[in-house]
């Protein structure tokens, strides 16, 4: 499934999600529900900055651990960021969403992407071994 299909499916199954952006660390946007590409980039950039700051909140004594997901609950709505491998999805919802359900739907969307068939490179044709023995010839003596 490509990003556009995964996001369409997300909006279909989750009425709580208002908008979403799928991106990679470094800000590369893979897909979004926004019509405006620049807006999607801006949201991805802010979401990445948000999770960098969130990662910093883990105490040094707790040891290193990978970020998995976050929710920021505001009066005007909630912001979610979920990670699956190298991919991230940032989404906004209405106020007081069903948190567990939104996390599940976002994670599913990212996994749908992972199951997408990636175009495989054609394997290079096997090299023929150079003939070691004497050549057979059809020529008759």
């Amino acid at each position: 499934m490509d990003a556009a299909a995964a996001l369409a499916r997300l909006r279909e199954i989750s009425s709580q999600v208002r908008s979403a952006v799928i991106f990679e660390r470094g800000g590369k946007v893979i897909g979004s529900t926004f019509a405006d590409e620049q807006r999607a980039k801006d949201v991805a950039g802010e979401a990445e900055a948000l999770l960098t700051e969130a990662e910093g909140q883990r105490g040094a004594a707790d040891g290193p651990a990978e970020f998995a997901q976050l929710e920021v609950a505001l009066h005007g709505g909630s912001v979610f960021v979920v990670r699956d491998g190298d991919r991230l999805i940032a989404a906004t919802t209405q106020p007081e969403p069903t948190v567990g359900l939104v996390f599940y739907d976002l994670k599913s969307s990212l996994r749908d992407l992972d199951t997408a068939p990636t175009p495989k490179k054609r394997a290079a044709p096997a090299r023929r071994k150079p003939p070691t023995g004497a050549k057979k010839t059809d020529a008759k003596p």
Binding site: S19, F34, E46, Q57, D62, A65, E71, A73, V79, T92
Partner: protein, 67 residues
Amino acid sequence: MRSRNVLTGVFLGAGSVAGTLLFRRRLARRRERVDVYFGDGSMVSLARPADADPLLRRARRILELAG
């Protein structure tokens, strides 16, 4: 008669405690906060303004951008 009064008192007390708990829980849910989950299963919840404010600002910006 007396046991009925006691029972009524117990019910009223239990009801008010349950109501207070529900009210407090709802109030806590309405508070602006940040919950961060890590791969090892740990979770950090930030509600104090000093910790949460920078992240809340970023999240507000995202909501603004998203419209």
